[in-house]
Symmetry: C2
Subunit: 394 residues, 2 copies
């Protein structure tokens, strides 16, 4: 079961909008932020803590769960919802990105892609059909197709070949998926012409929703937003749009402004484990000595478990002593911050005041240096000769 | 406010008994197991998770909190209960053991002990009065006095000097403590005569409760229990007895059999972080490949959060991938296991069936190799030239 209805919408396909996705396991109000639970656990949190952030859907990764513990084991445990005790909707990433970057080898032909596990070097052949088999075995509510992923710096001809193959693979995925809803993934790097063509070709396939892949992989922000706009302009208004691996608070606002509905990102948990916590003014690093005696909450505007019960001084103390509870509190706060941001955007859109909200929000929020993400990207580049995308590799 | 009443008791001071300690922050039913929250956090857990194990009191460490964040900061945050958001009773260890072992220098005179912080090497002078000031600033419900702690292998003359100093320091502690209840600590190594003499001398001081220090520091088990018996035989029945730094499931049963009421130990959280989980038959290591597809709970008799909601297969998966949630679930289970063991012992004592319970329990529970504790002890010995005690150094 999958349905999407707009609850408020602008005139253009590029305008901000609100909607509701209905799945058998519950509704997802959009714009929505999806916490990342790569290995069937949102790092350090129990499902009820994820629910306490009012996230309505979470993301797991088919590549990772295929390798460990294996989709057959998850299926024999009653599926991923029962396995991790999360009763709400789950969206899975197909693992396309991981197969081409995190794994080794990544040798592609029309049938699929041969890769070696990043864990033990074992060889596997991943096909569109297998990607669907894995996701069906997990029992997720929304699936992603296997796509042919290229490095961001790919030549346009190569990018076009991969984008065409992605269309052919989508047909095979849908064939194999049965009733499982499978989004189409729009590729094309930062080549606007290619993006537009691929978006239109995806629309021909009439999928239940659209993912925008291949962004937030290290390209300049000046390239990101025109590319997103080039895509959303081609998409029908009555289907959800999911910008994969995004994002930071400021990215969410920029993307919603251009008609995007869904997001996932490891940033809140990765930053959280590092002591970096979102506030209305930007990120605060709770390890900083200035918080040693601070009796106030991290963010006075926040209603999360950490902000409503603990002082900055306590969270600072936990981080200074490398106490695991510190990571938990920071992660809960950061996820709640992004979910609350989507709530605020929904309210602004419904009140017809999104532009004012976005201007005020972006005027106040100071984006931090991208140190954490850049470091991660550098590591990935070194590992895989590939530019990294945050989504699904937490 | 501090009171203790026996709710059932044998004829002798060495017999198992049940009781209730009343503090301003709630009642503690004994025998009681106290989870260790050295740094004002039970490692990885939120207070409500500690409460879900039905632990009724937890332990914090004055030495650690004196050094970091500093007792003045905890006081300015409203005390340790508010700081960590645990509304129930808290008992603090004075830090005597840490000052003499974990810290460097450890130069003692009649006034107190000069030591260097194990964190930054800064020099401090810890006195009975300061130990009480720290614990009063934390705002705990039950305090421990500063005692002069010696290595287990100390000569009897040296041990007697230290035990005598501990008595003089106790008087100074009580003087400084105001209304805060301060237990007396019975020392004396495994010298039964010295232990009996020191216990009687402590009884003269009429403290609200008695701690038994200097055991579970690497002595042979064959020495532990006769020593405990030598002490409890001298103590009045109407005051609680706390065996510091103990213990394992089998140790709890052995000690309760000899009239001990209270326990603390880092074992449940330390083992939990290692994947070792208590069951009725002994410890199970959830990392073991045999649990990879096990749909059952860790311990079918357990009612903890982990056992009631997650399969062995899921917890195995978490540990195999070093997911923090695994540590949390194992810690919750292990603490609940020990608390449930105290509940079962209370029921058995009240039904007049403790001997049968103990025989059945000890007949079934296979104590594991002491690998984890031995390793820890070896590290401590190397660090401090001291035999290690588990309590309060998690």
């Amino acid at each position: 079961m999958f349905a999407f209805r707009l609850t408020s919408s602008g005139r253009s396909p590029v305008a901000p909008r609100t909607g509701v996705i209905t799945t058998a396991r519950g509704e997802i109000r959009t714009p929505a932020f999806m916490p990342v639970g790569t290995l069937a656990t949102v790092k350090s949190l129990l499902p009820e803590e994820v629910a306490s952030t009012r996230a309505e859907v979470l993301l797991v990764n088919a590549y990772h769960l295929y390798l460990r513990p294996g989709h057959h084991i998850v299926a024999s445990m009653g599926g991923v919802h029962r396995f991790m005790d999360w009763p709400g909707p789950v969206l899975s990433d197909s693992g396309g990105f991981q197969v081409f970057s995190l794994a080794r080898l990544g040798k592609v032909d029309e049938d699929g892609v041969r890769f070696r596990s990043h864990i033990d070097g074992s060889e596997h052949f991943y096909t569109p059909e297998l990607a669907m088999e894995v996701q069906a075995a997990l029992g997720v509510d929304i699936a992603m197709p296997l796509d042919h992923v290229l490095a961001g710096q790919a030549e346009i001809r190569e990018a076009r070949d991969a984008a065409e193959r992605t269309l052919r693979w989508y047909e095979r995925c849908r064939q194999a998926a049965g009733p499982l809803p499978v989004f189409a993934i729009v590729q094309g790097g930062i080549h606007h012409g290619l993006r537009r063509w691929h978006a239109r070709a995806c629309v021909e396939l009439d999928p239940p929703g659209y993912s925008i892949g291949g962004l937030s992989v290290g390209e300049a922000k000046a390239d990101t937003w025109p590319t997103v706009e080039a895509v959303t302009a081609e998409l029908p208004v009555d289907r959800p749009r999911y910008l994969m691996g995004v994002g930071s608070p400021e990215d969410l606002v920029e993307a919603v402004a251009r008609g995007v509905d869904m997001f996932d990102c490891v940033l809140p948990s990765r930053l959280g484990r590092n002591g970096s916590m979102f506030t209305g003014d930007g990120r605060a690093n709770v390890r900083n000595a200035r918080y040693r005696q601070d009796p106030g909450p991290v963010d006075p505007e926040c209603d999360c478990l950490a902000c409503s019960r603990f002082s900055m001084a306590y969270i600072h103390h936990l981080f200074r002593n490398e106490e695991l509870l510190g990571y938990r509190l920071a992660t809960i706060h950061n996820i709640r911050y992004l979910v609350r941001l989507t709530e605020r955007m929904r309210a602004a859109i419904e009140a017809g005041q999104f532009s004012a909200f976005a201007a005020e929000y972006l005027g106040r929020y100071r984006p931090s240096s991208e140190a954490v993400r850049s470091e991660q990207k550098a590591k990935w580049l070194a590992q895989s000769g590939f530019e990294a995308q945050a989504g699904g590799q937490d």
